[in-house]
């Protein structure tokens, strides 16, 4: 048995000679939350559908908890919980009836059904609505019922496809902390196009664009990529440009007007401290000093538009 709970090897999917997912490989360990990022139409949902057994891959192999999804689907699917983009709900059932059904079809023995339901409802905060019809619940609660369905049999691998779509900020926070909690004992794959969500919840990040994997690293690796090595400064009595360029470690200085400058410096030699000292000594009246960071959006745009192919980390 491998140490990876989910392995996808050289996964490809074609529809009518149009390649939607092209040769993607990755693996997820227990205790890891993997973020799967990509613009709309990048092939995220197609990949999720393949991982969950809803779509057969044109090529490649998927192994869940050591079982091949095609050769022994029953064992593989028993170790899998999946929340599709649209939560698969039966609107005419109550939350209780629905979860009972989900527990039964996921092979939970009759004696354990009750306990499994209690656990799932507690984790997703569904106790108060357990007797209500799913069709009458708000979108947020429906989403939670969808998540409860995916974790009711305590699967080793949980796949969530855009779980926070259509939720309000408070619900989003709750769902994110739930995902982090799940990530402690399970392997979680989270597909999303919301970047802060990945920063807030994931350990590993993958970015996919036009069916190809363009970035694969840990969240630290991604954050490192965000460092820009520049400071944004503003003065009431701006000094001469030459004064700023004369500071140790400064490579280049741009004038932004209105007393604002952007200072580019060599890596690991920020002139911030020196700058503050000089400002006080020479009365430049510094009022703003801000380390600049590329937003995730910038990195995302850079990666998805230039199609830089990163070797898998």
């Amino acid at each position: 048995m491998s140490e990876y709970l989910l392995q996808a090897e050289q996964l490809s999917r074609r529809f009518n000679h149009h390649t939607v997912v092209d040769d993607i490989s990755f693996h997820v360990q227990r205790g890891q939350v993997m973020g799967f990022l990509g613009p709309n139409g990048a092939g995220k949902s197609t990949t999720m559908n393949m991982l969950s057994g809803n779509l057969a891959p044109s090529q490649g192999q998927i192994t869940i908890a050591g079982f091949d999804l095609l050769d022994s689907p029953r064992e593989a699917k028993a170790a899998l919980g999946y929340l599709a983009e649209n939560p698969p709900l039966y609107r005419e059932l109550t939350v209780f009836e629905y979860l009972q059904f989900c527990a039964r079809i996921n092979q939970i023995p009759k004696a354990g059904v009750r306990a499994a339901m209690e656990m799932a409802m507690e984790r997703c905060g569904l106790q108060e609505v357990s007797r209500r019809l799913i069709g009458n619940l708000s979108k947020g609660y429906q989403q939670r019922v969808g998540i409860a369905q995916a974790i009711i049999h305590l699967p080793q691998v949980v796949i969530l496809d855009e779980p926070t779509v259509g939720l309000d900020p408070i619900q989003i926070r709750e769902i994110r902390s739930l995902i982090r909690e799940l990530g402690k004992e399970h392997a979680v794959i989270l597909s999303t196009h919301i970047l802060p969500e990945v920063q807030a919840t994931c350990d590993q990040v993958q970015i996919i664009n036009q069916g190809k994997m363009v970035f694969h690293d840990s969240i630290q690796g991604l954050e490192h990529r965000l460092q820009h090595n520049s400071l944004l400064v503003a003065f009431h009595h701006p000094p001469e440009l030459a004064d700023l360029q004369g500071l140790a470690g400064v490579e280049r200085c741009d004038v932004l007007g209105n007393g604002q400058f952007r200072i580019h410096y060599k890596e690991t030699s920020s002139p911030a401290e020196q700058l503050v000292a000089r400002s006080v000594a020479q009365n430049w009246r510094l009022y703003e000093l801000r380390p600049e960071q590329a937003s995730l959006e910038d990195v995302f745009m850079e990666l998805t538009h230039q199609e830089v192919t990163e070797p898998a980390a």
Binding site: N54, K77, C102
Partner: protein, 253 residues
């Protein structure tokens, strides 16, 4: 076992919708009306019948003709019951729940089918109550009654299998209903076409394929193994086609 869990859910959802209840009510109403009419006719000629030797009894003159009418009604209502089975799940995108659960396609289709069969059984058992009410004032030919009831059950089960297949083809319930209605009516009418062509008395291929041919001998009280086999093959055939259809959905190109 897994199929039974699915069937239970299916049956539950059916009874949670007004459709099932209204169909039960409408069928009961029509049935009662037809039954009363026939019974009235029977009572008028009963005196003359009692003079005859080996006269046809109430089972033959009332229940069997009414059951024949019910067969036509079933042809109209079963497509309404089967139309939602898979198309609605596809439309609500709830199929992914079943596909990612440890269930085989066969179990999914069988579950759906058995659930519907449960409903059909309820419907047909209700139909049995009215003839039994006649027991208070006479006797019934139970053999004939059973054979005719079995004919209805097999016919409805065959309709349901064809309807399930049609429902697996589309995501629009109405389309599934229209398509299965068309298919069933065609299979029903094969018999008519065959009758008008075959003058030499031999049974033609078309007549053999017709749902009605096999039904007619059963409802007359003749339980023929070839008729039973025909229905079993018909049902299995359409169930296998539905399973194939679901599998093809995963492999779609």
């Amino acid at each position: 076992m897994n199929s039974l869990i699915l069937a239970q859910r299916e049956l539950r959802s059916l009874f949670l919708s007004p459709l099932a209840w209204s169909l039960l009510a409408v069928v009961q109403f029509l049935y009662a009306y037809l039954f009363m009419g026939r019974l009235e006719g029977f009572l008028q000629i009963q005196a003359r019948l009692s003079l005859m030797e080996k006269a046809p009894d109430v089972t033959e003159l009332v229940i069997i003709p009414v059951f024949s009418n019910i067969a036509t009604i079933l042809l109209l209502i079963i497509p309404l019951l089967t139309m939602r089975l898979l198309s609605e799940e596809r439309r609500n995108r709830s199929l992914s729940l079943l596909f990612s659960a440890p269930l085989s396609m066969t179990e999914i289709i069988l579950g759906k089918y058995l659930g519907l069969l449960g409903f059909i059984l309820c419907l047909l058992l209700l139909l049995l109550l009215t003839p039994l009410s006649l027991l208070g004032s006479g006797s019934l030919d139970f053999g004939l009654l059973f054979s005719a009831w079995l004919a209805l059950l097999l016919l409805a089960a065959a309709f349901a299998a064809a309807g399930l297949f049609m429902s697996s083809l589309t995501q629009y319930p109405t389309l599934a209903a229209i398509a299965s209605f068309g298919l069933l009516l065609l299979l029903w009418l094969f018999n008519m076409a065959a009758n008008s062509i075959a003058d030499d008395g031999t049974i033609s291929v078309l007549a053999y394929l017709s749902l009605l041919t096999h039904y007619e001998s059963l409802i007359r009280g003749v339980i023929n193994s070839s008729d039973l086999l025909y229905y079993l093959l018909f049902i299995t055939g359409f169930l296998v086609l539905s399973i194939r259809r679901l599998e093809a959905e995963r492999l779609q190109v």
